[in-house]
């Protein structure tokens, strides 16, 4: 940064901040999947297919998440956004 730059007033948000925010999200997501059992991706896929047999939903309207609450308790969370009734 030179003194001349200082007077130019087009200050954009820094791209490093954007990079950090994006990384924090993707890394948290990656770590969530890291601890999941090997069968998890396939089970997730099959659950979504079963739901789609009955209701028309896109893959982004179903979220299946495994949460490790403590040593002995894991919670499988299934969230389905059903399409609006006409």
């Amino acid at each position: 940064m030179s003194l001349l730059d200082y007077f130019k007033t087009n200050k954009k948000p820094s791209t490093a901040v954007t990079a950090k925010e994006r990384l924090q999200i993707i890394v948290a997501h990656q770590r969530g999947e890291r601890d999941a059992p090997d069968y998890f991706p396939k089970m997730k896929q099959e659950i979504i297919e079963v739901i789609r047999k009955y209701v028309q939903v896109g893959p982004d309207q179903v979220s299946v998440q495994l949460e490790q609450n403590d040593e002995n308790l894991s919670v499988l969370e299934l969230n389905v956004t059903l399409p609006e009734k006409n």
């Binding site: 030179s2 003194l3 791209t15 490093a16 924090q24 990656q30």
Partner: protein
């Protein structure tokens, strides 16, 4: 007891081979008998960076297949005492590396050497998994850039689940972050992730920060590990990293911009 150190990253081109060569040379310069192994089967390059490419006769795969013994395949470094190189083969057979084969070679090396540095290939295929499987220590080489940081996190996941230590429920692999190609000036202008940003995301202890440096290309051009160039910032930063690996506590250097002169401050560079 020999220490097995893997230099890994997931992403390619971040400086694994440069770092392997520098760290192995640094450990040997400190008087520790060290061997550095190229795990990049089919795309060997460590020999070039170490400047011993014309002395390769037998390689890692020959030793695994018992076509040559270790002493025939190990190349003694001409510059640094206590330092040996075990080159990769140029054949494309990916399945050449097996757990049994690699394990046996490492066992034999462990009888003679204090440090065994495993230069991992990029990716998460067999070569990379074999390089990290037997590790006691992992040096996760990362550039301050989104794809490199993400891949480093993936590799940390592998170390925690797919390494021998993880499989056998032993004490986990010690993980260290080596940040390479760091440009303090670009961090100041908000164009590059800072050391603190990467540390915060990956959450492992920092062992070194290597500044983006012209010395690295010069060193590889001439086949001399950059740590030999003790006039250069990168060379000094690698020396610091080696000292930290050996247990010393040192302040981090080259984290701030070089001071600009008065005229540069007014008119920019």
């Amino acid at each position: 007891m020999a220490q097995i150190i893997v230099v890994t990253s997931g992403k390619g081109g971040v400086g694994k081979t440069t770092s392997s060569a520098a760290i192995a040379t640094g450990l040997a310069m400190k008087g520790h008998k060290t061997v550095v192994i190229d795990f990049d089967i089919g795309l060997r390059n460590l020999d070039l960076i170490m400047g011993c490419e014309r002395r390769v006769v037998y390689d890692f795969v020959n030793v695994i297949n018992e076509e040559a013994n270790l002493n025939q395949a190990l190349i003694k470094d001409k510059r640094t005492a206590n330092l040996f190189v075990l080159p990769a083969s140029q054949t494309r057979d990916k399945d050449a590396l097996t757990k049994e084969g690699v394990g046996k070679v490492l066992d034999d090396l462990a009888k003679e050497f204090e440090y065994i540095i495993c230069d991992s290939p990029a990716g998460i295929e067999t070569g990379a998994m074999m390089a990290l499987y037997f590790a006691d220590i992992a040096i996760v080489t990362t550039n301050p850039e989104v794809s490199s940081v993400r891949d480093s996190d993936r590799i940390l996941g592998m170390l925690q689940s797919k390494s021998k230590r993880a499989e056998e429920g032993l004490e986990p692999v010690k993980e260290f972050l080596l940040l390479t190609r760091y440009s303090p000036a670009r961090v100041t202008t908000g164009e590059m992730l800072s050391v603190q940003d990467v540390e915060e995301i990956l959450a492992i202890p920092l062992i070194g920060v290597i500044p983006e440096s012209q010395a690295v290309l010069k060193a590889s051009n001439s086949g001399v590990p950059v740590i030999i160039d003790q006039e250069s910032d990168a060379g000094m930063a690698y020396s610091d990293a080696v000292e930290r690996l050996l247990g010393q506590e040192l302040p981090f250097r080259f984290l701030t911009e070089e001071k600009k002169g008065f005229l540069k401050r007014i008119f920019g560079s």
